[in-house]
């Protein structure tokens, strides 16, 4: 998390749970980032992170540059240093 802050990248978690569920979860874990509610999986679909036939969400990470373009995308949950390497390479 400190790495993200150091690089001025704002991370968000995204999943289909309603915002109220997210609020409870975030409060319980004192998560250092905001969770976004995607109840219809519209965002997941747009970012190709939804499984076919409504089978849920696949762990997927994207880094988006301030030009509005994808800088990095990967399945799974790579660590912050992996994602940020790609940010560094764009500088």
């Amino acid at each position: 998390m400190a790495l993200y802050q150091q690089h001025h990248v704002r991370p968000f978690g995204v999943n289909p749970a309603p915002a109220t569920s997210h609020a409870e979860y975030a409060a319980r874990l004192t998560l250092p980032f905001v969770l976004l509610s995607d109840p219809e999986a519209a965002i997941a679909n747009a970012y190709h992170a939804a499984m076919p036939w409504g089978f849920g969400i696949t762990r997927t990470v994207y880094l988006i540059g301030q030009d509005g373009r994808i800088q990095f995308g990967r399945r799974g949950a790579p660590g912050a240093s992996v994602s940020l390497e790609h940010l560094e390479s764009k500088k």
């Binding site: 993200y4 690089h7 001025h8 990248v9 704002r10 991370p11 968000f12 978690g13 995204v14 999943n15 289909p16 749970a17 915002a19 569920s21 997210h22 609020a23 979860y25 975030a26 998560l31 905001v34 969770l35 976004l36 509610s37 995607d38 519209a42 965002i43 997941a44 747009a46 970012y47 190709h48 992170a49 499984m51 076919p52 849920g56 969400i57 696949t58 762990r59 997927t60 990470v61 994207y62 880094l63 988006i64 540059g65 301030q66 030009d67 509005g68 373009r69 994808i70 800088q71 990095f72 995308g73 990967r74 399945r75 949950a77 994602s83 790609h86 940010l87």
Partner: protein
């Protein structure tokens, strides 16, 4: 499953409600800083 969006692809804009009750729009966020999106299956899942 569809392939990942590729580097250089336009990131689809969206607006969503956050766990803090605010509504976030990607295009507004990008005006401030790069954004990292972490899609995951559900709360209380490992990883």
């Amino acid at each position: 499953m569809a392939n990942l969006l590729k580097p250089g692809d336009t990131a689809p804009d969206f607006a969503a409600t956050g766990s803090d009750g605010h509504t976030y729009r990607l295009s507004d966020l990008l005006a401030e800083s790069p954004v990292l999106l972490l899609f995951y299956p559900g709360n209380n899942t490992p990883g």
